[in-house]
């Protein structure tokens, strides 16, 4: 029962559309994380031990992996947002494709560098 997508979603795809899609997806993910963050830190109302315990719940492999996903979402959203600010406010609309390439390169570099902080075996 899948409604077929309109033609403009899969014809003439360009890099701007893909950046926009990832920007929106990462934005939703960060919003969900924000609610979870406030909920986790709310344990401070029950005292210091409850607070330490509720943070220590995330100190396993799965928690570190989820944190890495948060890093991916935040880094991509930030870099794309900076690209949009540059294109809008500094009159760089002619450099659009180059700016998008720059953001993807910076994104991959930052991800590769930061993986060693989360999984203390890997390092690139």
């Amino acid at each position: 029962m899948i409604k077929s997508l309109p033609k403009e979603t899969y014809l003439n795809i360009n890099s701007g559309m893909i950046s926009y899609a990832f920007h929106r997806i990462s934005g939703i993910a960060i919003s969900v994380y924000l609610i979870l963050h406030i909920y986790t830190l709310g344990a401070v109302g029950k005292g210091e031990e409850a607070f330490n315990h509720s943070i220590a719940k995330y100190d396993n492999l799965f928690g570190h992996f989820m944190e890495y996903l948060i890093l991916i979402a935040v880094v991509y959203h930030t870099l794309n947002g900076i690209r949009i600010i540059f294109a809008d406010f500094f009159n760089m609309t002619l450099l659009h494709k180059r700016l998008i390439l720059l953001t993807w390169i910076a994104f991959v570099l930052i991800l590769g560098y930061s993986i060693s902080y989360f999984f203390p075996g890997l390092s690139i």
Binding site: I35, L41, V44, I55
Partner: protein
């Protein structure tokens, strides 16, 4: 990062309390909370507008997002208080 701090110290109550003794960090955390909540909920509102709902649904979702924002703001600022003592 949830557990590993910059100086390889685990994130505990004491670590956060030490940082939040300075009023500049309190101001920074409060401003970050307000900005992040506003940006996130405004983004969700923009997604709702892309679906182009009718008048009633739009008003309902708009008000619910605003109320979620106000509640989260009050909760967040209330959570900051035990660290500043």
């Amino acid at each position: 990062m949830h557990y590993i701090d910059i100086g390889d110290k685990p994130v505990t109550f004491a670590l956060v309390q030490e940082r939040l003794q300075s009023p500049w960090w309190i101001l920074f955390d409060s401003l970050l909370l307000i900005t992040a909540l506003y940006h996130a909920l405004n983004g969700i509102w923009s997604i709702v507008l892309d679906w182009n709902p009718g008048k009633t649904v739009r008003r309902f979702l708009g008000w619910s997002l605003s109320i979620v924002g106000i509640i989260a703001l009050i909760l967040g600022l209330y959570i900051l208080i035990p660290f500043t003592i």
